[in-house]
């Protein structure tokens, strides 16, 4: 028996590590990977809340898992487009360092 709160705490920890990696990392691919990490942390929270909802209502609820399913679909599409953008940026600027790609910075 594990309290569902532990799963939620784990999800918060993973999300915070994802935020920290997003801020620290200087390679555009790794920055993108930390976004995926944050998405995964949120998915874990969705599954845990889905389980909690099942226990409150007393019968199986799958709405949270449906959410995760759609998040996965969107994440797959987002990864394909994002990596294509990274390839296009690399072709144009010949660098992967996010500090060198600052044309839109004020």
């Amino acid at each position: 028996m594990v309290p569902i709160a532990y799963y939620l705490v784990l999800s918060a920890v993973l999300f915070s590590i994802g935020v920290a990696a997003f801020l620290i990392k200087r390679n555009i691919i790794t920055v993108f990977m930390s976004i995926e990490l944050m998405l995964n942390a949120v998915n874990l929270a969705f599954i845990a809340f889905s389980r909690q909802w099942s226990q409150i209502t007393g019968h199986l609820q799958v709405n949270g898992q449906i959410f995760v399913f759609f998040v996965m679909v969107v994440a797959a599409a987002e990864a394909a487009v994002g990596l294509a953008i990274i390839i296009a940026v690399f072709r144009a600027r010949n660098t992967l360092n996010v500090d060198s790609i600052d044309l839109m910075k004020l």
């Binding site: 309290p3 199986l60 599409a77 487009v81």
Partner: protein
Amino acid sequence: MHLALFIFFAVLCVAGALNLLLQRHPINSALSLIVVMSSLSVLYLLLGAEFIAAAQVIVYSGAIMVLFTFVIMLLNAGKEVRTHGSRLAYVAGFPGAAALLGLLAFVFISRRGDFGQARLGEYLATTSDLSRVLFKDLLLPFEVTSVLILVAILGAVALARKEH
């Protein structure tokens, strides 16, 4: 048993995420992200989400991470150069992330009685339970996502194509 499995894979998850944070080479970060995603799929299984666990392995640690490693190798990404990031990130970002973690952990731990306990094998959501909802109540959103994926594929091809 459940607690032991949870602790083992939760520690693996956090260790992989920290390794992603600390490694300098993107391929090492990608491999540790695979560890995180695979151990998350075990946690999904412990929570009774068997379809999501399988999809996690296939979609995340399979397809998406293959895409990532492929792009890392294609662009021949080397060790990252540590340059100065934005100062705002250090001043507001890290305390903000730490505060978020502290607040969430405090709320979850202090109200852990309300969230209940997860027992192994209870409320197992099989693939048929999931597909019953997906294909009856949510058929239109499901079909719309297929259009989204089609558009994403077209966009990826258009973006990554060499310009003539």
